[in-house]
């Protein structure tokens, strides 16, 4: 078979399998694309040419692992809602949190886990990771996180770079991380879509995709884009060039949305209309303007964050979170007023000029502003294993600054607040009835340096057990390598 014929055959096969999909129909967006039963009207667009035909062209195939009704009994339970319950019981049924409270009765038939003397938290959420897109080993062949060929690459999706066999997913799970936002890098003004993943071993990235999680758009301020493109002798080479670049992109996106709206209005009236040509990058940006895609904005300096807020108002979108944001403490009030979360570190600072003013108390000062939303995140395959320690350092710095912050409050920085920052707060991030039973059992207070996870649950199923090698999954990459199984 010639290459050309093979290609045609593959395309045909893909089209057929696409039509025959057994996945449940997506809610609203797919309705217009229902094939045979459509009434007589202007010829419908082929699905691949209509941005709304399949809002998610790479749908999640995530299925929770099998689980059994479980009662975790006797632990100090951080609920992720600001509460610490001593001698708490967490009841888990059908993969969901059923009840949480002190001394609850354990119903018959539940597996009982004795957690007296231990601590329980919600599964940790990392709102900023590059696992899979900058996989280990960090060789050039695995460097897939920055499409540094154009300052605006809204058309790329991080999930198309994610390598599910990155050993870092497993080490992150050992650290209690159950949900991860994987983002493109920050070399571009607009770097592309990020993807929210369930942290389970998987053969495909679709197996990991968090069902019904929103997509996100990665944007970046400051030194990285201007350095990358300035060194190539093209725009942007300055911060003002950065801002011109964002605004031009949103103007294009608004125009694109208007052309589709016009087209659909004409079609609805039965008028003849030429559809705009689909543009993957503008699809994503228009999704932001429609409020369907969250903006996650890498931005260190306070003054730049304030400018990004004004740009968001100029074009009518909302910034879900500023990332890194080491100067957020300088505008904690402004960020809180605008309902913007701050995903930051305690300890990272000083590596470059825009990081120079980073302080350990950043998260605590953000938290202290009325309505402030502080998030501790990793941006790093090592730190993701110890988000609890980074939160402890941020907490200690807040207390040293004279702020009265409880551990129950600070645990939100790595659980419910990141859930909010990445748009999955209705599903996970706290131990409340009806939410996914993502939880961690710790051998010490998670704010202690000595705390290690004993067990990690995803959707009520044991995803990691420190004492049972059967629940210590290793990636394909680790098999047969020196030291296999030591991690």
């Amino acid at each position: 078979m010639s290459l050309w014929k093979l290609t045609v055959a593959l395309i045909a096969a893909a089209a057929v399998s696409g039509c025959a999909t057994t996945a449940p129909p997506a809610k609203s967006a797919e309705a217009g694309a229902a094939p045979a039963s459509a009434p007589a009207r202007p010829k419908p667009l082929p699905p691949g040419l209509d941005p709304l035909a399949r809002a998610d062209a790479f749908p999640s195939t995530y299925r929770p692992m099998p689980s059994h009704a479980t009662a975790v009994v006797g632990a100090s339970v951080f609920t992720g809602t600001g509460t610490l319950i001593e001698n708490g019981t967490v009841l888990v049924k059908d993969g969901k949190v059923e009840a949480v409270g002190a001394g609850l009765a354990v119903p018959a038939g539940y597996d009982t886990v004795d957690a007296h003397g231990k601590w329980v938290t919600p599964g940790l959420i990392d709102a900023h990771s590059h696992l899979g897109v900058y996989a280990s080993p960090a060789v050039q062949a695995n460097s897939d996180g920055n499409e540094l060929t154009n300052p605006v690459t809204a058309e790329v999706w991080a999930e198309h770079s994610v390598w599910p066999q990155d050993p870092g997913f497993n080490t992150a799970r050992v650290g209690g991380v159950t949900t991860i936002l994987v983002l493109p890098g920050s070399g571009n003004l607009i770097g592309g879509r990020g993807v929210v993943l369930r942290n389970i071993p998987a053969r495909t990235v679709q197996n990991m995709k968090f069902p019904d999680a929103p997509y996100v758009l990665k944007m970046a301020c400051g030194e990285n884009p201007k350095r990358v493109y300035g060194s190539k002798g093209r725009a942007p080479s300055t911060r003002m060039g950065n801002v011109a670049g964002y605004r031009a992109a949103w103007i294009n996106a608004a125009d694109y949305q208007r052309r589709w709206d016009d087209y659909r209005a004409k079609v609805a009236k039965g008028e003849k209309a030429d559809p705009p040509k689909r543009d993957l990058g503008l699809d994503t940006l228009a999704g932001v303007l429609r409020g369907e895609i969250l903006v996650e904005n890498h931005c260190y300096r306070a003054d730049e964050m304030a400018q990004m807020i004004d740009i968001s108002k100029e074009f009518g979108y909302h910034v879900a979170a500023f990332h890194h944001a080491v100067e957020a403490y300088k505008i904690a009030d402004l960020l809180a007023e605008n309902h913007i979360c701050v995903a930051t570190w305690a300890n990272w600072w000083g590596g470059k000029m825009e990081m120079l003013d980073g302080i350990e108390a950043n998260a605590a000062l953000v938290n202290a502003a009325k309505g402030g939303c502080a998030v501790i995140k990793s941006d790093d395959p090592d730190l993701i294993q110890r988000l609890n320690q980074e939160a402890a350092e941020a907490l200690a710095a807040g207390r040293a600054a004279g702020l009265a912050i409880t551990e129950a409050e600070a645990i939100k920085w790595i659980t419910s607040n990141p859930a909010k920052a990445i748009g999955v707060e209705r599903q996970t991030g706290s131990l409340e009835p009806g939410k996914r039973a993502d939880l961690v059992i710790w051998d010490h207070d998670p704010f202690s340096i000595y705390a290690r996870t004993e067990r990690v649950y995803l959707d009520g199923a044991v995803a990691y057990d420190r004492r049972d090698p059967r629940y210590q999954p290793r990636s394909d990459f680790d098999l047969g390598q020196p030291g296999e199984g030591v991690r």
Partner: protein
């Protein structure tokens, strides 16, 4: 914004004031981690005078006239020692550093002591992490092999191709000599110069030797043979009556203490097989060796212990970041210590994040290292490895009063230092970061933050 009153500890810190030189100071009511032969003292006092410790123990009373600092049951520990740090030789990472040189005439002879900056804003930040000493080591010109970045966010530059393929650069076989400093910020922060010679092995060594590992040991042996020839025939060399040697005269001279076994090399090495090659090289060449990196050290722990080679390692390296560290594990530090290896702990990054040294020690403990071994690995062990244990690294009479008072276990993030002494002198408990914090803590003031009045 809710505020709590300053605790007693903060008041104690304020009360300490400035110079403790020339007066006798007694820190009482403390749990003392001596890191010396006395081990841990459940409750006792440390007395120091004129910058030196005069007494440590459970039954030590404050001498008459001494200024007494009540530790309120907190912990007193030696100031921690930052190993493999970049302190004093870097300010803002992206602006460059004074750690790496690519000059055909200056490799082994590169001496980091002349580039140290006592005014560095990184020193006060490090002190607030309980650090009082550091060894500053050159960075090999081709990077450190498997992974080479200090602290970057997620931009592309951290994933650049490794060194290699540019032909032999003999001078770059040696990265130069490091120094031990104190973190006082005084103009005389240099404690000891020329403490060790950095030599990259493995991938990084292969890069400077022309691209392959097999070339490097050959080139190194040739270079050391040249040094020995130079030592025997200095007169002929000086009148240009001698064969060409691969290194400059300065580099040959700088390597004399190495071939004489007086100065150790710091071998940057990760893979188990490379560690074996380094140990064999050191044995054959009669060179003292310190291993740095050693992510796969645990696989050859017995051989390292038998060779008596100390190891500098980051206890948090547990991923196959490169093909040189496929067997990296958090258990590395504990396993090496258990095998009898002298371990010193490095921190990630080495400069801005060096304050995390104490957390690395805590993680080593939770992954199998004994508390005493972890304490030693951030105090007395690096002091011994770099030849300054007669002055610092433990709380013993006669040593410099380099010590820190903590609210609790110093490895715990929720513990904070309340006082830091270097050579008996109380260090200011502030930094540029603390000033920024206080400037912006209350955003509701009528005047812009730059004005200092209320």
């Amino acid at each position: 914004m809710r505020k709590v009153l300053f605790g007693a500890c903060a008041l104690a810190a304020l009360a300490i004031g400035v110079s403790a030189q020339a007066e006798t100071v007694a820190v009482t009511n403390a749990r003392i981690l001596t890191a010396g032969p006395a081990g841990e003292i459940a409750s006792g006092a440390v007395v120091f005078k004129d910058g030196k410790i005069t007494a440590v123990g459970a039954n030590v009373a404050a001498p008459a006239g001494a200024r007494v600092i009540d530790a309120h049951g907190g912990v007193v520990a030696p100031g921690f020692f930052a190993t493999g740090s970049l302190l004093g030789a870097v300010e803002v990472g992206s602006l460059g550093n004074d750690l790496s040189v690519n000059n055909p005439a200056i490799g082994a002879s590169f001496d980091i002591q002349y580039g140290l900056n006592p005014e560095s804003g990184l020193l006060p930040v490090a002190r607030l992490g309980g650090l009082t000493s550091a060894v500053v080591l050159p960075l090999p010109v081709g990077g450190r092999g498997g992974e080479d970045y200090d602290q970057e966010d997620d931009d592309a530059s951290k994933y650049t191709a490794g060194p290699g393929g540019e032909g032999s650069k003999s001078h770059a076989l040696f990265a130069g000599t490091g120094a031990v400093i104190d973190l006082s910020g005084h103009e005389t922060i240099l404690t000891k110069a020329k403490v060790a010679m950095v030599v990259p092995f493995g991938r990084a060594g292969a890069g400077v030797a022309g691209g392959a590992r097999g070339a490097e040991i050959v080139a190194l042996k040739e270079a050391l043979a040249d040094v020995r020839a130079y030592m025997k025939n200095k007169a002929a060399y000086e009148r240009a009556g001698y064969r060409d040697l691969a290194l400059s005269r300065g580099d040959l001279e700088a390597l004399v203490p190495v071939v004489e076994g007086r100065m150790p090399i710091v071998a940057v090495v990760r893979r188990a097989s490379d560690i074996r090659q380094v140990l064999a090289f050191a044995r054959e060449e009669h060179v003292k060796v310190i291993l740095e990196g050693a992510e796969e050290g645990w696989m050859v722990a017995g051989e390292i212990a038998k060779a008596g080679a100390p190891v500098l390692l980051n206890p948090l390296n547990d991923r196959p970041e490169s093909y040189e560290e496929l067997a990296a594990t958090m258990d590395n530090a504990g396993r090496l210590a258990a095998a009898g290896v002298t371990v010193a702990l490095e921190s990630t990054g080495g400069s801005a994040r060096v304050r995390e040294t104490r957390y690395g020690a805590g993680n080593a403990v939770s992954h199998g290292m004994s508390y005493a071994a972890a304490l030693a690995s951030v105090t007395i062990n690096p002091a011994r490895i770099f030849g300054v244990a007669d002055r610092t690294g433990s709380l013993e009479p006669g040593k410099d009063a380099d010590l820190v008072i903590w609210t609790g276990d110093p490895f715990e993030p929720l513990s904070q230092p309340t006082a830091v002494f270097i050579h008996g002198e109380a260090q200011p408990m502030t930094s540029r970061q603390i000033e920024l914090r206080d400037r912006y803590r209350d955003l509701g003031r009528p005047l812009p933050p730059g004005y200092t009045h209320p």
